[in-house]
Amino acid sequence: MKPARQGVEEKSRGRILPREQGAASLDLVIGVMAFLAALALGGVLIANRSAASWQAGLTGRLTVQVLPQGDAPAQTEVNAALRVLQTTPGIVYAGALSDAENLALVEPWLGRDASVTALPFPRLIDVQLAPGATPDIGGLERRLKDAAPHAVLDDHRRWIGRLRATADTIVLSALAILGLIALGTAATVAFATRAGLATHREIVELLHLMGAQDRFIARAFEWHYFLAALIAAACGAALAVAAFVAAGSLDQFGLAGVSFLPPLGLPLRELAWLAAIPAAAALIAWATARTSVIAALHEFY
């Protein structure tokens, strides 16, 4: 029985529509769109991850600056500030940064040479809070001022707020780009579907006269574009994955990026999100082709 069955399948696998000539250009457009969409989605993931990591690094910590008077901050004020901090409930650690640590902080912006080391830097005190501790920042600020008049307390709220706002802007912009790319893909597929209908008009008319339902004719088009978009977008997304992997490996080749920017690579679990791009492209192509064909059939017949 099996050979007979195979023979049946072999005889009846003809596609209702022939493969389109010139379809490569549509595949190329969808591939490029998918590549750009994957880059935008990667940007969203990087921005979100960076903002979360910065926020986690700063939450639960305070910084006290003792500003210089003349050439350098007074060590007595630094010690007084440390005493206040170390006796405040909820603070588990307070320690002044060394000169070397100070220089390391400004190095990405100013470099390291004699003129930089001669600058009058404030002394920084790193403060760590106990998990869940919510010290009275206003009271602490007043007690610090009393003990060390040139001390300034920074609870990072402003910095975290700006980071969050920047990350949100990046995410919203990337989502807008993704939306535009989806729209562009839909418009391209709609145009291609119309062109395909015009190319295959005789076949479509014949099917129509033989009693094909609109959805039968639409199915021939929608699966064609579904598969084409899936394959083309998978290629585009794969290219983007390669780009992120390469960006993540730069430091291995001594080509580390700018140190104050987040790493541009994506870990495996985030790379997996890029698989959504071909799936979305295929669905957009499928839905667009279906609606375009049905609308055109209503218009023509």
Partner: protein, 222 residues
């Protein structure tokens, strides 16, 4: 089955191709449509297989008035009609088998259900060895036989054929007309547009003659 009442047809602002055509095809009847070239035979067939709507007059098909049918009502009616087009209208990218099987695919049947029927019919029309050939590799006569097999494979209620034996030799023409007669015997209403007098005389069927868009002569079945 089919009823025309004072049907007129013109394309755009051109002259009337059909004028005041009235006739009825009873269920199970066999009718030839004859007349000189340009008399309107193809247009009349196009009206019956729902490729055109008349400029005036009433057409009813399978007991339903076409003027009041919705668009979604038409595909099921069309699937009850088999058509042999004068220019065959085969799909060049499909094999002869797939072309013949097309009406069955449209009806939602599975290849495993219809494969045997299609094979048998292809053998009957002398194309059993050419199942996998595509139409461009077939002769004109072979393409015509594929077109005929496609029209009859679903055992339609109404079969319309436009010059169905124009490209085949007399022996094959006779074989094909036997196929139509056989279908008719099992209840299919048949209407064939042709110039072939030998074909007409061979069946003693009813004849309707069109001249300048008017039905001028009707011969009852002998």
């Amino acid at each position: 089955m089919v009823r025309f009442e004072n049907v007129g047809m013109r394309y755009g602002a051109g002259p009337e191709v059909l004028r005041d055509v009235s006739f009825a095809l009873e269920s199970g009847s066999f009718t030839f449509l004859t007349g000189p070239s340009g008399a309107g035979k193809s247009t009349l067939l196009r009206l019956v297989y729902l490729a055109e709507t008349p400029s005036r007059g009433l057409i009813s098909l399978f007991g339903r008035d076409l003027a009041i049918l919705k668009r979604t009502d038409l595909p099921p009616l069309r699937r009850r009609i088999g058509v042999v087009f004068q220019e065959f209208r085969l799909l060049d990218h499909l094999s002869a088998f797939d072309n013949v099987a097309l009406p069955l695919r449209l009806a939602g049947r599975r290849p495993s259900d219809y494969s045997h029927d299609v094979d048998e019919l292809m053998s009957w029309v002398g194309l059993g060895e050419k199942l996998h050939n595509r139409p461009p590799t077939l002769s004109g006569g072979e393409q015509q036989r594929v077109a005929i097999a496609r029209a009859v494979v679903a055992k339609p209620d109404l079969l319309l054929a436009d010059e169905p034996t124009g490209n085949v030799d007399p022996d094959m023409g006779e074989r094909l007309i036997r196929l139509f007669v056989e279908l008719n015997r099992f209840g299919t209403t048949v209407m064939i547009a042709t110039h072939d007098r030998a074909l007409i005389e061979s069946t003693r069927a009813r004849e309707m003659r069109l001249v300048d868009g008017r039905l001028v002569e009707m011969r009852s079945a002998l």
